[in-house]
């Protein structure tokens, strides 16, 4: 499997006239976890949602700049957004499984993408659930409603769902912030695991989490990237005063 990264160049997002992200350029490497941190409203989530063109859905929201995957700028009108989104998985803050069975949640995407064979689907479901460390807990009740799972399980199901369509990149928008500590640590373990196969971008509020799971960290403030460096450097030796203030908890 080829491993693919993502590059944003001068990416700006405007809600109407109000700028939310200002000319951000970031490089996300394959097989790495990049954390986006910053205070509320700093534009990190907006930036993340621009990467798979999810902001297209929001009226009034305008995204300018370039996003490169391999040799293609995907932030152009001619991009086939649907195929693009298949390659970029996404996980939300609150677990959002479909109102379907556990099995259907996973099989839904692949089936749409042309895999009709029951055996192949079974295989994908099992593999995805195993990768998401959910197989052992759910293998006996695959036909039960996904809504019957606990919050942490639901979130892992959502991760399994997104890897079932074989993305290259996974975007996570505060994936653990709605979960209890035990579930959170499970998700973090999972992220560390998934890193072997995917390029992962994670938005988080929790600086310990960023420090634990990420390889690189970008610090956002009022729509701009203040600092982008190896996670270690950001947390031990920040170059800018704002970064230092934020991670030591002076504001945010």
């Amino acid at each position: 499997m080829e491993h693919i990264g993502l590059t944003a160049k001068d990416l700006s997002v405007h809600y109407g006239d109000r700028p939310a992200v200002k000319k951000v350029s970031l490089d996300f490497a394959a097989k790495q976890v990049t954390a986006l941190i910053g205070p509320s409203g700093c534009g990190k989530s907006t930036f993340l949602r621009s990467l798979n063109r999810m902001n297209d859905l929001i009226p009034n929201c305008k995204v300018t700049g370039e996003i490169w995957i391999r040799d293609k700028n995907i932030n152009s009108p001619s991009t086939d957004v649907v195929s693009l989104r298949q390659k970029i998985g996404m996980v939300w803050q609150r677990p959002n499984p479909f109102h379907k069975s556990i099995y259907e949640n996973i099989a839904f995407g692949p089936r749409y993408h042309g895999i009709k064979n029951k055996k192949a689907l079974d295989e994908i479901v099992e593999q995805s659930l195993k990768k998401a460390a959910l197989w052992e807990e759910t293998k006996d009740r695959l036909n039960n409603s996904a809504l019957a799972l606990s919050g942490g399980q639901q979130q892992r199901l959502c991760i399994a769902r997104s890897i079932a369509v074989k993305p290259d990149i996974i975007l996570m928008d505060e994936p653990a912030s709605a979960l209890d500590p035990v579930s959170t640590s499970k998700i973090e373990e999972l992220i560390a695991d998934l890193k072997r196969d995917y390029c992962i971008v994670i938005v988080t509020h929790n600086m310990q989490q960023a420090a634990r799971v990420s390889d690189k960290t970008a610090f956002f403030l009022t729509g701009e990237v203040m600092e982008y460096d190896l996670t270690q450097n950001i947390f031990t030796n920040p170059q800018r005063q704002e970064t230092s203030d934020y991670i030591t908890g002076r504001f945010g």
């Binding site: 009226p59 989104r85 109102h99 749409y112």
Partner: protein, 295 residues
């Protein structure tokens, strides 16, 4: 202390008025049912009406009402869903969309008699569908459509954004997202609304006087070929529905037991509407529970 007295009086008045409303409905239902239920029998529900003899039934009218309802819904549901989906998911936020919204609102408030006249002029005479179930169904579609559009829109707007995004993020098209993820979630709302709209069809008379006609040809209930003029399934035959029949019997009835038949038919009509109401509520609750239940 004066304020407290005023408060007590006002509360008492409000409770009394609310009680009055319940009483009015109870009286209304009681009046209709007590007068009519005695007349309802299997025979009454299945036999054809009599012009001047005693003992006529409402069989064909009951069948017509149900068949008309089915026809109307077959036309209304797909178009209404489609239009509702467009308004909720595809329509760009601009002036034209606002204008369309206004138009839907206008259509929903057009009085049923105008719809009936329009049907008479255009469907019955111009397109030459005649007084027929089909004309009636189209006329009823006209004023059920806006309702259906609104219900669909409401249902889709109620779907959490994350659900929609989750499906899109898997690389599904918008259309597939709407039909496989959003519509199932909004189903309880849409279904409840649809059933309530269907109840309205059942009771409508003014528009049908001019479109479905006031006569019921002899029906041969063994003939199920929709093209035969005697077949109950032929959509191009005139069809008097239950509500129209009540109107006619009340005003023109020659049969000696006309008033009992009217009372019986009214009771049947009201019971059906009640069933629709309770059915819609029950189904809505059931589906809501089914979708969110923890098994």
């Amino acid at each position: 202390m004066k304020a407290k007295t005023a408060d007590k009086i006002a509360t008492a008045v409000i409770i009394a008025v609310s009680g009055l409303i319940v009483l009015v409905l109870a009286g209304l239902l009681g009046y209709i049912l007590i007068r009519g239920v005695g007349h309802i029998s299997f025979d009454f529900l299945t036999s054809p009406p009599e012009t001047i003899r005693i003992g006529g039934g409402i069989g064909p009218q009951l069948f017509n009402s149900i068949f008309l309802l089915v026809l109307t819904m077959i036309i209304t549901i797909p178009i209404g869903l489609g239009a509702g989906i467009y308004m909720s998911e595809y329509a760009p936020a601009n002036r034209i969309t606002n204008f369309i919204r206004l138009i839907v609102e206008v259509l929903s408030s057009v009085p049923s008699i105008i719809v009936g006249l329009f049907g008479l002029l255009v469907l019955v005479n111009m397109f030459n569908f005649g007084f027929s179930l089909f004309s009636g169904a189209l006329a009823l579609t006209v004023f059920n459509l806006p309702l259906m559009v609104r219900i669909t829109e409401q249902g889709l707007k109620g779907v959490p954004r994350e659900q929609k995004e989750a499906s899109l993020a898997l690389g599904l098209t918008k259309w597939k997202t709407i039909t496989s993820v959003m519509l199932p979630i909004s189903m309880p709302v849409v279904l409840t609304g649809t059933i309530l709209a269907a109840g309205r069809v059942f009771g409508e008379a003014a528009a049908l006087l001019f479109t479905a006609g006031m006569s019921s040809p002899r029906l041969d209930f063994t003939n199920w070929n929709p093209l035969s003029p005697f077949s109950p399934l032929n959509p191009f035959r005139p069809a008097e529905t239950l509500a129209v029949h009540i109107w006619k019997i009340n005003s023109e009835g020659l049969a000696p037991d006309a008033s009992q038949i009217a009372a019986g038919a009214s009771a049947v009509l009201v019971i059906t509407v009640l069933l629709f109401n309770f059915g819609a509520r029950w189904l809505g609750r059931y589906m809501y529970r089914k979708f969110t239940a923890i098994k």
